[in-house]
Each structure stands twice: as C-alpha cells, then as structure tokens.
C-alpha cells in the first residue's frame, strides 16, 4: 500500500472545468471518501489517480513516484466501478482468480485458492463460486467485481459508488465488511459516493468537493462538527442542517448573514415561539417541521411525542454555526 498525492490537478472537458487546482494527500492506510453531488468532480478525481484520464496540469504521485505517462496497468491500482464488468464466459471462481493469474504476480495455485475462499466468504458469495458470472443477480455480480479487486494487493483501491446498486441490507453489511477489510489489511482506499451514511461510517478522511474544488478535507466528525461553509455543513447530517437568516435569533455576530442549526443545536422548550407544521414519525425518532417568523426548519424529537400540527414549541439555538455572505463559516 502507498500514499497517494494529488498536486494542483486541473482538468477541463470542453467548456466545463471538471477539476480546479485540486490538491489532496491520501495517507498510506487511509480510507478517503470523496463526497459531493453529481458533477462535483468526484469520479474525475478517481480517474486521475487510476490513469483512465490525465490531468491538463498538475501531478499525481503514488508511493512517491510521479504517475506522469503511466497507463492504468502500470500504476498498480485496483478499480471497482458502479457498473460491474465481469468476464461473462467465466465462472465466479475464474473471475476472482483472473487478476492473480497475471504472469507478473506469480501467485501459487494454493494461494489463489486461499484468497478466493477468504474474499468470497466476506462478500457472501461462496455458494456461487461455480456459477457462470452471468447467472448471478445484479447484487451478486457487484460483489464479485468488488471481490476481484480485493484479491489483489495494489498500491490503492479505487471504488466508484460500488454499493449503490445493492439493496439496503446488503449495503449495510458490506459497509462494515469493507471498513473491516481496510482497517485490518492497512489498505489505502479512495472511494466515491453521494451517500453520506457511507462517508460517515467508513471514512478516515472525507474530501468534500464542490464544482471541481476541494472545499474541506478532514475526518467525518470534523466535517460534521466543524464545517467550513454552508456547503460542507449540508453534506452530512440527516435531517439536513437548517440554514436561516442570522438575525432570526438574538446573539448573532456582526458579519453573520446565516445561522446553521443541526437538530442537536436546537433546544426545545425555551426561547422563541415556533409553530408545528408537520409531524413525521420515522419510528426511532420523530421529525418536527416548524415555522418560526415565516421560516421553515426541521428538527428531531422523541419518537412518541404528543405534539401535533398547530402546536406551539419554543426553540432556542444552542452553539449554532454562523456563516457570512459568501457562505463561509464565521463562528
């Protein structure tokens, strides 16, 4: 495994600036998740590291070596795409063995067998090893394509939304497994998703991308508890952070334009009156839709709350975030 460094990487596609001076250190053994909406530059960043695309300017290095001019094959990276791509004429076992049979690696047959067994158990596909790859469900095919990356020992694993096609239960299982494999093996992983749960639960570091720029890079807890901007704060947290005019409540600093309130930053029972506009029982918690001075916000309350639409709830900010006119964090 190796450290991966992107230095001032820029990339244009026609009129679109896909990446704008991106610099990022992916430490050896880290699990870095790139987070952002469609078009933020997540997948392009991944393709820069893999060699499927080359930067217009700037440099990518893996393990201290510049990757300039090197093809994907020469970079020793393992990729998993959103859309699985298996060898249809081979069985699951043969698909998994394929990367190890490369003459460069000289893996012994018993070692190959051991690896396949290990990986297929983790991914819950051991019972399908002798099936043709095409005789699997979509979820199983995706697990095989993840498995095909995991049997190798590359400098870095690159994964582009590998879990998004799986059902909720399997996704939850594989989140834990991927994290466990990564933590135990010390593998370096660069992972693209727009699912904030995946980012929060698996990442050692999250890179928040906005229109081709890295706007924040830090641990999930950092980004959740100490976001640099409204944009970064809105990436993590369910329900989403409420952003309201700063002067709605007392105590805003001079230059503050907006106040950011996560549910835990809203104290219920004291402060100003708000009216309940909707009560959503989600089972483990209840979401309260409130309106205060004609501004809407959403917070969370006890699952079995007695509150109903039309009730008055007093609310008060508690250690809120303040943002300036450009959306940058002030306090």
């Amino acid at each position: 495994m190796a450290e991966v460094i992107l230095k001032n990487v820029s990339k244009r596609f026609g009129g679109t600036q896909a990446l704008d001076d991106v610099s990022m250190n992916i430490p050896d053994g880290s699990f870095v998740v790139l987070l952002g909406p469609t078009g933020a530059g997540k997948t392009t960043t991944l393709r820069m590291v893999s060699g499927l695309d080359v930067p217009d300017s700037g440099d990518v290095s893996i393990g201290g070596h510049s990757m300039k001019g090197l093809t994907p094959a020469q970079r020793n990276v393992a990729m998993v795409f959103q859309q699985y791509s298996l060898y249809p004429h081979l069985t699951v076992r043969e698909n998994l063995a394929f990367p190890l049979k490369s003459p460069l690696l000289k893996t012994s047959p018993s070692e190959i067998e051991r690896k396949i067994k290990e990986v297929s158990e983790v991914l819950q596909i051991s019972h399908k090893l002798d099936n043709k790859a095409t005789a699997l469900s979509g979820g199983e095919m995706q697990r095989v394509s993840i498995g095909r990356a995991l049997v190798r020992n590359p400098a870095i694993y690159l994964m582009d939304e590998p879990l998004s096609s799986l059902d909720a239960k399997l996704r939850a299982d594989l989140r834990i497994e991927l994290k466990r494999i990564q933590a135990n093996s010390g593998a370096t992983l660069l992972y693209v998703t727009h699912d904030q749960i995946e980012a929060m639960t698996m990442a050692t570091h999250v890179g928040v991308l906005d229109s081709g720029k890295v706007v924040q890079f830090g641990s999930p807890r950092d980004i959740y508890e100490n976001p640099v901007s409204i944009y970064a704060a809105s990436r993590l947290g369910q329900p989403r952070i409420n952003v309201l005019p700063a002067d709605l409540f007392q105590g805003a600093p001079a230059k503050a334009v907006s106040i950011g309130l996560r549910p835990e930053q809203i104290v219920q029972g004291k402060g100003d009156d708000s009216i309940v506009t909707r009560v959503e029982h989600l089972g483990d918690q209840t979401r309260l839709h409130l309106s205060i001075k004609n501004h809407d916000l959403i917070t969370v309350t006890d699952a079995h709350t007695e509150l109903r639409t039309g009730d008055i709830v007093k609310i008060q900010p508690h250690k809120p975030f303040y943002f300036g006119a450009d959306g940058a964090r002030l306090a």
Binding site: K169, R262, R278, L282, G283, D284, A303
Partner: protein, 365 residues
C-alpha cells in the same frame, strides 16, 4: 375524492399467484403507502385498483361503488406515472389543460379550471413558460397539475421518485406531501423504500409474497410489528432478533434467555420452543451491571448517534447510542433492553405473540 375498499382481492397470472386475498381500506383524503420488496405484489395491487389489471377474485370499491371488473377509463382515477413526463413542445398551461381539451370541455371552463389548479400548486406565474427550462420541482407540480385538473377520485403513483438521487428525492417527497396536505386528495403510493413510506404515509400496508403482512399507522407498525418480516423491513438498522429456546406463559412478564431473566410486556399468549426476542437498536442500553454480555464488533459514526454492532450469545445485534459514548472494538459490554418495547416472536410462524403492549395495535390490524 373518495374512500377505496379492497376486499379479499386475489390475482393469478397463469399458475403464478401474485396477490393472495388482500383486504384493507383507504379512507377519504389519506396518503396511503403500499410498501414491500420487489415481487411482493404491491404494484399488481395498485394496478388492480386502477383497473389496469382485473382481479381474479374479490371486490374493489371506490366511493362505495364496486368497480373490480370495470376498465380504468370508467373508474375516474388519475395514474401519475414517471413524475416528469410532460409534453415537451407545449408550455405549462397547455400541458395542464390538455386532458380537459381532449375531453371536449369548453375553452372558457378550461381556462377557469387551469387557473384554479395553478393557484393551488403555486405555479400561476409560470403558466406561459415552456416546460423545457423548468426546475425539477416545477416539473413535478406541472405533472401533478395535469392529473388533478380532471378532479379524479384518487391519485395512484408507482415509485414516482424512484429514479432521483437522494438529495433531490428528499426535497420532492416533502413537496409532494405538502401538496397533498393542501389538496386532501386520496393518494395511493407504491414504494419499496421504508423510510419514504414512514415519512410520507398516513397509513401503510406492508406486503410480502402477495400477502398483506400488516396494515396501519406508521409509528404503530414500527413499534408493534405483527410479523418478523415487518420488524425486519421497517426501520434502519432493522429490529434485532435474538433467537432462543425457551417459553412464555400466558401472563408472563419475563423470559429466560441464555440464563438471564429479561422483562417483557405481559404476554396474552403462551408459546414454547424456538422463540425470538425482538428489540429495536435505540432500545438497547449499555450497563455494567447486566449479566447479559456481548462483544463490540464495529462502531459506525453517524453524527448525533452511532451504531454499534455487537456479538451476543444469541446472535449479532446493532445498538444505536449517542456518538459521545466511548466504545472500543473487541470490548465486552453488558446489555439491557428497554422492557416496555420488546416483542416476542413465535419461531415457526414468525408471528408476534400478543402482549399487553401490542394487543391494541394487533387485535384490529
């Protein structure tokens, strides 16, 4: 708008039985969710209500009138397919008026009706705009406008938000629900997403393998599932199942699992053999004094809370605890379950035993 009653409805496709004897009632003005995994029969049920499929047996009442064997055109309902399918060459107003003009309604009446609908949906100011440049939210409003302009008895929607990414979907579902609250139109909505169902629905029917597993108010279904399937399908992470061999007597208020006595809501039924104790992740608490112990396998940070995966003598479970609470992987943890919330399931039939806590929900479910 109307009440819809489904009575013993069954549908066979050749030798395949898609829906087995479904019975439930959708009240006037309700936002009603048909929830289940793919292949459970939810879409078939909706299509039978709409008249796109005819039931093999059973009755469907819309507003008291039996319509089971009538074609869709005679049922006066609006089926909203893909939300954003609009006529691209027409402006917003023309898109909305089209269904009325094609019915032969006089121009003046159409105009009045369209402006009424536009008012409700808050799109009066974009009536003359082409649909091409509209935001997703406006497109949804226009698509809905085209459906309500006919004053149908009910709206039927089949996973209308399925193709959207998470952020946009959340926004659209809120908007859709707000529109419903304003229009009070009876709406039947098919989804496989339990959170969407909980969030938007007044009532939910949970289906599996063509069978209605449970029918009721979202929070009650979450708290008191009738079957293991419902317990597993609703909630994320889902309800934990601790399997054990033991017994519960009529009137018992505890069970013995792995040599430890656990308090449960007083049981109204007796059972023995393979049983399952069901407990939600947020009802598991860590306690140094508990004799029931597990080993932490993983902890997942989620902002306010964290999910801790724990290996216990009766299987792997997940607990939801505040993220400030320290948990080390491999640490041994004493576990307590909130006794008022526990459900006991019978092993063989996967059915919840009736207790003093869930009888109110399950007796008329």
């Amino acid at each position: 708008m109307a009440q819809i009653m489904i009575k013993n409805v069954r549908k066979d496709f050749g030798s395949f039985n898609a829906v087995k004897s479904s019975t439930f009632t959708i009240e006037d003005g309700e936002f009603f969710m048909l929830l289940g995994p793919s292949g459970c029969g939810k879409t078939t049920t909706l299509r039978m209500m709409a008249g796109l499929e005819l039931p093999t047996s059973g009755e469907i009442y819309i507003d008291g009138e039996e319509v089971g064997q009538k074609p869709a055109s005679q049922r006066d309902i609006a089926f909203v397919f893909q939300m954003f399918a609009l006529y691209p060459h027409m402006n917003v107003g023309k898109n909305i008026s089209y269904p009325l003009l094609s019915q032969g309604m006089p121009k003046a009446a159409v105009k009045k009706k369209v402006s009424e609908v536009a008012e409700i949906l808050g799109i009066t100011d974009i009536l003359n705009k082409p649909v091409g440049g509209l935001s997703g939210g406006d497109r949804q409003r226009v698509a809905l406008g085209r459906a309500i302009v006919r004053d149908p008895k009910a709206f039927f929607m089949d996973e209308p938000l399925g193709a959207l990414d998470a952020e946009f979907r959340e926004h659209m579902s809120q908007e859709l629900r707000a529109l419903h609250d304003r229009m009070k139109a009876t709406t039947v909505y098919v989804t496989h997403d339990q959170l969407e169902a909980m969030q938007m629905g007044d009532k939910i029917v949970v289906m599996n393998h063509g069978v209605v597993e449970q029918f009721g108010v979202p929070q009650q279904i979450y708290d008191w599932p009738a079957t293991k399937f419902v317990a597993k399908f609703i909630g994320s992470p889902s309800m934990n199942f601790l399997d054990f061999n033991g017994m519960v007597g009529i009137g018992s208020s505890s069970v013995n699992m792995h040599g430890v006595e656990f308090k449960i809501p007083r049981s109204r039924e007796g059972a023995k053999g393979q049983l399952t104790l069901g407990v939600r992740p947020e009802h598991i608490h860590f306690s140094d004094t508990s004799k029931y112990r597990g080993r932490a396998i993983a902890s997942e940070y989620l902002g306010t809370t964290q999910i801790v995966t724990i290996a216990t003598p009766n299987g792997v479970i997940k607990a939801r605890i505040p993220s400030g609470q320290k948990v080390e992987v491999e640490e041994t943890i004493g576990l307590e379950f909130d006794a008022r919330t526990v459900t006991i399931f019978e092993g063989e039939r996967n059915r919840a035993l009736i207790s003093e806590a869930n009888e109110g929900v399950l007796k008329h479910g």
